[in-house]
């Protein structure tokens, strides 16, 4: 079994600390996404796991092998941890098959194993192509096959899909997820793309400024974020100032039912901020509804399956966005009534700067 444990890792880059005591565990065979904005230390963390960067403190343990720890530093070539870098990084002087065979023992390189791996990632027959002759998506699949070839305990995916265009990305993501599930490989996906993290991962670890903000299943991260920042970073949320009334917040949207975020305490009458998911805002024509706040529609961005409506709320400076099912008859420069369909989450208001 190859459970990956990251324990209290502290790492610096050129003397500047970038990872501050990060701890999480990836159960064997599962995929964890390390999600964070750029500069959050997620790539450094990944290099520490691979053994390409020495942390100042902390430990990396896979199964019962301590790879990094006090006085232990297993070099990357003996860790049994595979890497799929950002741009696939196929060796340009080797064809697809030789790329896949690179990490195999010499005796197996000429055998059928490289071709089996290429078949597994859906590239049978393309073994003799040079990297330049493969499409972007094919290159990523070769890179995945190459990393999986020596049957590593853990595989690291460093923003592997960011170089692909949007239409290809979803397809390659699904293929990669499928292959990883089939081979039951423990995997860590480093990404700044929340869709990618939520859709692919069993566990999401959110990193900000080198600190772990929250670890949990995609549902937990989305449904009950531990902070206002996380609520906005993952999924996007409308955050409004208001007053806690115990079980609800009085704000520009009226009386919005809400629960307190984890670890938050508030008394009735305290200033709080309430986060409401964009898709939980319901828009109705003013003549059809009597409850809800009247708002002015500034813009409608139509995406087919849904539409994002930008609204001016009375007494709120910045416009807010509502995500509605496509085809809603909302017209710019008209008024709508806004209602909140699901409870929001309340956080203690940030002290004025």
């Amino acid at each position: 079994m190859s459970e990956l444990q990251v324990r209290k890792v502290v790492a610096a880059y050129d003397g500047a600390p970038v990872v501050h005591g990060v701890t999480f565990t990836v159960p064997s065979g599962q995929l964890a996404a390390v999600l964070g904005p750029s500069g959050s230390g997620k790539s450094t963390l990944m290099r520490v796991i691979a053994g390409l960067h020495s942390p100042l403190e902390g430990a990396i343990v896979v199964g019962d092998r301590v790879l990094t720890g006090p006085r232990v530093e297993v070099p990357p070539e003996r860790r049994r941890i595979g890497l799929v870098p950002q741009d696939a990084a196929l060796f340009p002087h080797l064809d697809a098959r030789a790329n896949v065979a690179f990490g195999l023992p010499r005796a197996e390189r000429a055998g059928s194993r490289p071709d089996e791996l290429l078949t597994m990632v859906g590239l049978e027959g393309l073994g003799s192509r040079m990297p330049g002759e493969l499409s972007g998506g094919q290159r990523h699949r070769v890179a995945l096959a190459r990393a999986l070839a020596p049957q590593p305990d853990v595989i690291l995916l460093d923003e592997p899909f960011s170089a692909l265009d949007a239409s290809l990305r979803a397809e390659v993501r699904a293929q990669v997820r499928q292959v990883l599930r089939r081979t039951r490989t423990t995997a860590v996906l480093v990404t700044h793309d929340q869709d990618e993290a939520l859709s692919m991962a069993d566990i999401v670890a959110v990193l900000d400024g080198g600190r772990l903000v929250q670890v949990g299943s995609p549902t937990e991260i989305y449904e009950s974020p531990h902070s206002r920042w996380l609520a906005q970073f993952v999924g996007g949320a409308v955050v409004l100032p208001g007053t806690w009334t115990g079980g609800a917040v009085t704000c520009a949207l009226g009386e919005v039912p809400a629960t307190l975020g984890l670890g938050e305490t508030a008394h009735a009458g305290d200033r709080v901020e309430v986060a409401v998911r964009s898709e939980h805002l319901v828009l109705e024509r003013p003549d059809h509804a009597s409850d809800g706040t009247v708002a002015l529609v500034r813009n409608v961005a139509y995406f087919g399956h849904d539409a994002v409506v930008t609204l001016d709320l009375p007494g709120v400076q910045d416009p807010v966005e509502a995500r509605v099912i496509g085809g809603s008859p909302v017209v710019p420069d008209t008024e709508v009534r806004v209602r909140v369909a699901r409870p929001g989450i309340a956080f203690a208001a940030e002290r004025p700067a």
Partner: protein, 528 residues
């Protein structure tokens, strides 16, 4: 040939070649013809000589010895430059190195010292002579020819490759050899071939070190033994070796561009901490600069300040008149090079065809033929065909023009090539005529690059020694020939000022190259 003239991608729209293009093609053919005179006439001279005389000249045991010396020195210097240059480039690009920018500049400094000046410094200072003397001087002076392309290739190489190789079970050294080295190999080996070419054609350093190789043998066969057939026969062998090296270099460059296109470096590079080898980096980086610059310059300054040798002094008037003739001759050479390069480079940049490629490769003759061979062949040519030009400044300027033509053609081609055809199309739609487009757009954008190349050619021609020795008008001396004459007679004190001026002259082109190398570092930093 007709098909080649008509179907080129750059030739959009025009079905029939225009008059302007016919004129351009014709001038390019003439220019390429002129540039091939040294090679063609050398062959004419050898084939026209008594076959027996040529054979006897070539079949002597001494020829074998010369060949062994030449090949041995070339291989040894090339190998040493490969190792030292790659190591230098690796440290400059991959290692954690305080003062990287300064070190980058320092490591290119040897280019500023002509090899015979460095040799002069070592000869005046120490008893080192012969193979090891020539090996030392030529290695340390030429290392930057490997360092610079290797450095550029290393910066292009994707650092993720080594990371991936390490996670697939390779040690750091193996990861470099199996993933990074194949990527930088074409560029690095092309640099090594340039070094080999330089060693093959070097005359001054080997002569000062008294190491007998082909160039020196050609020179002495012609000037002291007056055996012209021997000189011509030896020159032919030398020319063949040079052409082989240039051919190999071009092939490698071609492969380099093929491979470079498939990859882009994306991930940021993490400098490698050298740990207990930290002390080694400055040592590796300073070997060549110390041996090629510091030691010779210190020796020169010691002689110059007069403490070591007061017997012979130099007249300021001599130095001034030599400097004047050097500047005049090299300016003439640069003008010839530009005149020959314009039609060939323009044709190559705008109307690519088989013909333009053939004409362009004729310009490489100057790269492949050692200066001594060009000089000798033009001596034969002027004596037999145009006696009026024998030992005239015209013939010498022409020799410079041929020798440095590749630099000029490359610059014309690149400068004109960077003017996007789209710009010309826009100018046409804004009402400019074809000629108007050329003067208002194309030439305006291309001139700075071409001008820099002409200057570079002039500065390089100022250092030229072997062809100048053979072709200069009697009684005319350049800085290089005076330095040569004074060093030959061990008048080191008198030679020192000439050497110092030559280093100052050579520093120009070297700085230009260095600026490019440093500019790349800066760009990297800003984009990171």
């Amino acid at each position: 040939m007709r098909a080649a003239l008509l179907t080129t991608p750059a030739n959009r729209g025009a079905v029939r070649p225009s008059v302007a293009r016919l004129v351009l093609t014709a001038s390019a053919v003439v220019a390429a013809g002129l540039a091939s005179i040294p090679l063609v006439y050398l062959l004419v001279r050898v084939l026209g000589a008594e076959p027996d005389a040529v054979l006897t000249a070539l079949m002597r045991p001494r020829t074998l010895e010369l060949a062994a010396n030449t090949v041995g020195l070339t291989v040894a210097v090339a190998a040493a430059c490969l190792v030292l240059g790659t190591a230098t480039a690796w440290v400059l690009s991959q290692a954690r190195l305080p003062g990287r920018r300064v070190w980058t500049v320092v490591s290119t400094l040897p280019l500023a010292v002509p090899s015979y000046v460095a040799a002069f410094g070592w000869v005046a200072l120490s008893p080192v002579r012969g193979f090891w003397g020539a090996f030392l001087v030529l290695t340390v002076c030429n290392v930057p020819l490997v360092t610079l392309p290797a450095l550029a290739a290393l910066r292009m190489a994707n650092p993720s490759h080594e990371d991936v190789a390490r996670t697939l079970g390779r040690s750091r050294a193996r990861a470099f050899l199996e993933t990074t080295w194949p990527q930088i190999r074409p560029a690095t080996l092309a640099g090594v071939l340039l070094v080999a070419l330089y060693v093959l054609s070097d005359f001054g350093a080997v002569a000062l070190m008294r190491f007998e190789v082909f160039t020196w043998a050609v020179h002495s066969a012609y000037t002291s033994q007056f055996d012209r057939t021997l000189a011509a026969a030896l020159s032919t062998v030398l020319a063949a070796m040079g052409i082989a090296l240039v051919w190999a270099e071009r092939r490698l460059r071609g492969r380099e561009s093929e491979q470079g296109s498939a990859v882009t470096a994306r991930a940021a590079r993490t400098p490698v901490a050298l740990g207990r080898w930290t002390w080694a980096a400055p040592v590796v980086l300073s070997v060549a600069p110390v041996a090629a610059v510091v030691v010779p310059m210190a020796t020169l300054l010691r002689y110059f300040t007069g403490r070591a040798d007061t017997a012979t002094t130099v007249g300021a008037a001599d130095l001034a008149s030599d400097a004047l003739s050097t500047v005049t001759l090299s300016a003439g050479g640069a003008a010839v090079a530009l005149a020959l390069a314009l039609p060939i480079g323009l044709l190559a940049a705008r109307f690519r065809s088989h013909l333009s490629q053939v004409l362009e490769s004729a310009s490489y003759i100057g790269l492949a033929l050692p200066g001594i061979v060009v000089g000798l062949s033009l001596v034969f040519f002027s004596l037999a065909v145009v006696p009026a030009l024998y030992q005239s400044v015209w013939m010498l300027a022409f020799a410079y023009g041929v020798l440095f033509l590749p630099k000029a053609v490359g610059a014309v081609r690149a400068s004109v090539g960077q003017v996007e055809p789209g710009l010309e199309d826009v100018a046409r739609t804004l009402g400019s005529t074809r000629a108007g487009v050329w003067t208002r757009v194309t030439a305006r954008i291309a001139w700075p690059g071409i001008g820099a190349a002409v200057l570079l050619v002039a500065l390089t021609a100022m250092k030229e020694l072997p062809a100048t020795l053979l072709l200069r008008p009697t009684g005319t001396d350049t800085l290089a020939t005076s330095l040569w004459r004074l060093t030959e007679s061990a008048a080191y004190g008198a030679a020192a000022p000439y050497a110092l001026v030559l280093v100052a002259v050579a520093a120009g082109p070297a700085l230009l190259l260095t600026r490019e190398a440093v500019a790349t570092v800066r760009e990297r930093r800003e984009s990171a």
